[in-house]
């Protein structure tokens, strides 16, 4: 029924959505939306390096994003600049460095649109392997640091006082975020990955009254966006990455109507 590439795209997309759901919740709770942007923009540099040294894209993106993330954590403690200024500084300089490097790589044919917006329909079996293995690893680590990270998200002092080691889990979480960007960059692209991280948890927030519910609803919302988005992109012949985000947006708008319905029923 489906062409082979379409099944691959579905499997890869669902895998990514399952991982971005829980991590995206933390991104929202901890107000890290712009941080996600910075990491994904720095991924451009990672991709360029991958082409220059012909290494695996996900691996190289993970290293570059991870280094940028750790750099940010240490800069925050050392400079007097506010967090958002530091984020902007790192995001735009890494994009600039990445683009300048691309200019030097004249011997490589470079699909920059694919890089920015993703090319989910060119996903290979190898990519699926990276997404599902990397994704499982990310979720397993997240499971182990969950309670500590969650306590730190609710209140840092409380977590620190009661022995939850918030600093450690903050660093691990940052690296997991770099990891999720690394595995999904090829599929959804540098510019749109934060959308997939943010919109499903945002719509889940509208529908949930406790954290567990929000996590599961955001996974569900992400998977629904990917599946509906891919079918629509096939149907209307539109680019797959943006179509997925548009579907997520439509679901978000629908979720805005839900609480009103709920309160009307209660009256």
């Amino acid at each position: 029924m489906f062409d082979d590439f379409f099944v691959r795209a579905l499997v890869a997309g669902i895998g990514v959505a399952i991982v971005t759901g829980p991590l995206g919740c933390f991104v929202i709770w901890r107000r890290l939306a712009y941080f996600g942007d910075t990491l994904s923009h720095s991924a451009l540099l990672g991709v360029t390096l991958a082409f220059s040294f012909s290494i695996n894209i996900s691996l190289s993106v993970f290293f570059v994003s991870g280094i940028i993330a750790l750099l940010l954590l240490s800069l925050q403690k050392r400079t007097k600049l506010p967090g958002d200024a530091l984020l902007g500084l790192l995001a735009h300089s890494s994009i600039a460095v990445g683009l300048v490097l691309i200019g030097f790589l004249t011997f490589i044919r470079f699909d920059i649109m694919g890089l920015l917006f993703g090319d989910i329909l060119s996903v290979t079996i190898n990519d699926i392997f990276i997404i599902w293995c990397g994704g499982s690893l990310i979720l397993i680590i997240l499971y182990y640091i969950w309670s500590s990270l969650f306590a730190a998200t609710v209140n840092y002092d409380l977590a620190a006082a009661e022995g939850m080691k918030p600093d450690r889990s903050n660093i691990i979480f940052t690296l997991l975020l770099a990891g999720v960007i690394a595995i999904s960059i090829k599929m959804i692209g540098v510019l749109l990955i934060t959308g997939l991280l943010l919109i499903p948890p945002a719509l889940a927030r509208n529908l949930s009254n406790n954290p567990t519910q929000m996590v599961f609803l955001s996974i569900l919302g992400g998977v629904a966006s990917v599946v509906l988005g891919l079918f629509s992109s096939l149907e209307f012949n539109t680019a797959s990455g943006p179509t997925i985000i548009v579907v997520a947006l439509v679901l978000f708008i629908l979720s805005m109507l839900a609480p009103n319905l709920d309160s009307k029923l209660k009256k």
Binding site: R30, V154, N155, A160, A161, R205
Partner: protein, 253 residues
């Protein structure tokens, strides 16, 4: 200063600060703080705003590392009621979820402890819909439910109504007996501090004076800091009682 405690083993304290201080943005927030909290003892920190009470509590809790002096702690079973907890509205959190954030407890235990502070009906309420006083009650219930050996309370009854305040202070007093835990309390309630605590430390960037409540009340440094008004309130208060308290909480006729 405390005869009973000195007789026993020296490592009897739960936490001990020796000449500890925190240096931040080129000034000392607090300096030269020495204090000790032992089992079953209530130690209170009083002092004006910005005098380093919360900073001192954070040193005791190892949230802040002291820049000089030493902080020694003999227990890891610590519970904390912070002065301020701002839960981001993007985080859907019920009282039920909040009670478990630093350690799993059964629903039965949870209800029991929420009952102690009078908010068991709010167990499934959204945290962001609670009033200030209700939230304080939840914070105290959560800390007590952890059955700590060392309990640190930073202005635990702020925003609580008058009757509730008395009930909560009584609860804190009874917790120190029933759990036999050490309590470090930051409080502005001079009456409770003077009537129910074992050791008072008066802070103003450094330790102004410390000792049993009655000795601190007579100290000129204390009167200087809090003014004649407080001193007279106290003497009025003391007028109605025929006893004073020793550092161990016992009654001295």
């Amino acid at each position: 200063m405390n005869v009973n405690k000195k007789m026993t083993n020296k490592s009897d304290y739960l936490v001990k600060l020796e000449n500890a201080g925190i240096y931040k943005s080129s000034k000392w927030l607090v300096r030269g703080v020495s204090l000790e909290v032992s089992k079953g003892q209530i130690v209170t920190l009083i002092g004006p705003n910005g005098s380093g009470k919360t900073t001192t509590a954070k040193m005791v809790l190892n949230i802040l590392r002291s820049d000089e002096g030493s902080v020694k702690r003999n227990t890891n079973r610590v519970a904390y009621v912070p002065q301020k907890v701002n839960v981001d509205w993007t985080l859907p959190l019920r009282v039920f979820d909040f009670m478990k954030i630093t350690g799993d407890i059964s629903k039965l235990e949870m209800i029991e402890n929420l009952k102690l502070t009078g908010v068991e009906d709010l167990i499934y309420a959204d945290l962001k819909n609670l009033s200030g006083g209700e939230f304080q009650r939840v914070l105290i219930a959560r800390a007590i439910a952890k059955k700590p050996e060392l309990l640190i309370l930073d202005e635990p009854v702020q925003g609580v109504d008058f009757n509730g305040e008395i009930a909560l202070y009584n609860l804190i007093k009874s917790i120190s007996d029933s759990l036999n835990c050490g309590i470090l309390l930051i409080s502005h309630d001079i009456h409770f501090v003077m009537s129910s605590t074992d050791h008072v430390i008066c802070l103003n960037g450094h330790i102004c004076c410390s000792g049993s409540p009655s000795s601190v009340a007579k100290n000129p440094a204390y009167i200087d800091l809090f003014g004649e008004h407080t001193a007279s309130t106290l003497s009025l208060y003391k007028h109605h009682h025929d006893h004073s308290h020793g550092t161990d909480g016992g009654i001295e006729k």
